[in-house]
């Protein structure tokens, strides 16, 4: 059954429409890909889901609960975790402290700090930051910051995880690693929504993919369908990639 459902979701900034009448439905337990050219409204859609922007028109439901008009922290407490495209870690706090905030104030609002510390350390080990837990944010690499973003979202132990371009700017090896992590997370039963530009990754891990273009939904379906969808190819993927992808999918 669906965990997150959007009906004719629309957002206007003054004159221009960033997202218009997008319908979507995310099935519990799946990895749902969201792709589209820059400025196609992907991040805006995320901001609408977790309440950073007020929604102009339409409705978003999370497990039956209507999200319209809720403040970000309320939505977080319902069980939606999120990472930021431009990393928004708390400079001046250590890696561990950053993650700790998530577990103290996230979905389960851990009261006991030492207990929180423990699980934070587990999560940090899981995303591979265990060794750097005492580093200041300024002292760690982009890749690590992305991992931290992920960790911060995970310790909030969400039912739904929104990942905004966690792979942007990483080298292939790091990407492989992150894909692994995301799949493991998903296996633990956490539904995941990924925004990605790295086609290979998003095609590889998502069960279903939605394509946005100029704020409209131009396609929704399995990676295979998307790769073959003419409009998508025209407006976004481009022939060359599509061909390679088809052959890639044929081989299975």
């Amino acid at each position: 059954m669906s965990i997150l459902e959007g009906k004719r979701v629309t957002k206007n900034f003054g004159g221009l429409t960033a997202v218009s009448e997008v319908d979507f439905e995310i099935i519990e337990g799946e990895i749902f890909g969201l792709i589209g050219p820059n400025g196609s409204g992907k991040t805006t859609l995320l901001n609408l889901i977790n309440g950073i922007f007020p929604i102009t028109d339409g409705e978003i439901h999370f497990g039956g609960q209507r999200l319209n008009g809720l403040r970000p922290h309320q939505i977080t407490h319902l069980g939606i975790g999120r990472t930021f495209q431009i990393v928004r870690a708390f400079e001046g706090m250590t890696v561990k402290e950053n993650a700790l905030v998530g577990s103290l104030f996230g979905t389960k609002k851990e009261k006991n700090i030492s207990k929180a510390m423990k699980e934070v350390e587990e999560v940090l080990d899981f995303v591979g930051l265990g060794a750097k837990r005492h580093y200041k944010i300024s002292e760690i690499t982009i890749a690590d910051r992305k991992r931290l973003e992920l960790a911060r979202a995970l310790v909030m132990n969400p039912k739904l995880l929104l990942l905004d371009e966690v792979m942007a700017g990483l080298n292939p090896r790091e990407i492989e690693g992150l894909m692994e992590i995301i799949l493991t997370v998903n296996r633990k039963g956490i539904t995941v929504l990924v925004i990605e530009h790295v086609m290979k990754a998003v095609m590889g891990i998502s069960q279903r993919i939605m394509v946005l273009h100029h704020g409209r939904r131009i396609a929704l379906g399995s990676p295979k369908e998307i790769a073959e969808n003419e409009e998508v190819i025209k407006s976004y993927l481009g022939e060359k990639f599509a061909r390679r992808e088809r052959t890639f999918l044929k081989r299975g």
């Binding site: 977790n50 950073i52 403040r71 970000p72 922290h73 309320q74 977080t76 407490h77 999120r82 930021f84 928004r88 870690a89 708390f90 400079e91 001046g92 706090m93 402290e97 700790l100 905030v101 998530g102 103290l104 104030f105 996230g106 979905t107 609002k109 009261k111 700090i113 911060r152 909030m156």
Partner: protein
């Protein structure tokens, strides 16, 4: 510097406290007064540290809580013949309540606008106090003299401010270790990210300001009784606010003991300055401000950490210059 364990530090700290507690019994009046003054500023710096250093909201006008406390006590003691301590309690709680009330609208402002808002509040409260006959208006108000001679008074106010300082330190220490502290700092560094991570900023901001208000107001209350005469122009000043910020920055914003150390340091400096150069102290205080922010924008604790070599000093500049 040798690194004693936690116990060692506790020992030193405790020793220092006992020493300071007994000090007034050996020191002469001026020194008692000087230290009392330092404790007072330490309290003020610490309470600014809570709202600005931890929570990142720069309440430059924070001194209006000081005036509020001072006048609450003054009016209650003279016009309604309250005892000092009951008046004190009311002053503290009153200020916190007030901070919550004005906080709801004012804490919505960010950065410069919050800063300027608090300055506006300072001015407004001064003008209002000047215009109410209950507070003695512009003529100021005279409090009852502390009964029981010079020594008794000196010791009373010394220990009052000293105790207040210890409490404020303890409170800040608790905050820094508790969920509150994490929430404050998260809000300071990135309020949106904080709210996405499940922190509802409003109550935390308000709490931070209320605590800050509480201590500032108590300090003001003590001050009023200590000076035994106050007028609006004197207790609602912006100058001490700025001094508080200097102390906080110098000692290290968002650390427990930094502001305290900063307060002591600055008070000693200005004390030395008056003695020597009569007509230059503004200039010197001004230059101290300028040099501090240029060379040690993160406070001298940070400087100690990085080491005191000239190159390190210059790196302090490099961080912020354009």
């Amino acid at each position: 510097m040798v690194n004693l364990g936690r116990k060692g530090w506790l020992l030193i700290g405790g020793g220092l406290c006992i020493f300071l507690f007994l000090a007034p019994f050996v020191l002469r009046g001026y020194w008692i007064r000087l230290l009392t003054n330092m404790f007072m500023f330490a309290v003020l710096a610490e309470s600014v540290n809570i709202i600005a250093g931890y929570c990142g909201y720069l309440a430059l006008g924070n001194m209006f809580f000081f005036g509020l406390g001072a006048y609450t006590v003054a009016v209650l003691m003279t016009k309604f013949s309250f005892s000092f301590f009951s008046a004190l309690l009311i002053a503290g709680l009153g200020a916190s309540l007030f901070s919550v009330i004005v906080g709801l609208p004012v804490l919505r402002l960010k950065g410069q606008y919050f800063l300027m808002g608090t300055v506006g509040l300072l001015e407004l409260l001064r003008e209002i106090t000047t215009n109410i006959s209950l507070t003695g208006g512009g003529q100021g108000i005279t409090l009852p003299i502390f009964p029981g001679g010079a020594a008794a008074a000196n010791h009373f106010f010394y220990h009052f401010m000293f105790g207040l300082m210890l409490i404020s330190i303890a409170c800040t220490f608790y905050i820094s270790k508790s969920r509150l502290g994490y929430a404050f700092r998260a809000i300071k560094f990135d309020e949106d990210a904080a709210s996405v991570m499940g922190i509802n900023p409003t109550p935390y901001k308000t709490a931070a300001w209320a605590i800050s208000a509480f201590f500032t107001s108590l300090a003001g209350a003590g001050y009023a009784y200590w000076m035994s005469y106050i007028d609006p122009g004197e207790v609602y000043q912006i100058m001490p606010s700025v001094k508080m910020y200097l102390m906080m920055v110098l000692g290290g914003a968002g650390t427990v003991l930094g502001p305290i150390a900063g307060a002591f340091f600055i008070e000693f400096i200005s004390e030395l300055v008056w003695g020597k150069f009569l007509e230059l102290h503004l200039l010197i205080l001004g230059l101290v401000l300028v040099f501090v922010v240029i060379f040690t924008p993160k406070g001298f604790i940070d400087l100690f950490q990085r080491g005191l070599t000239p190159s390190k000093l210059l790196s302090g500049i490099k961080a912020n210059r354009i």
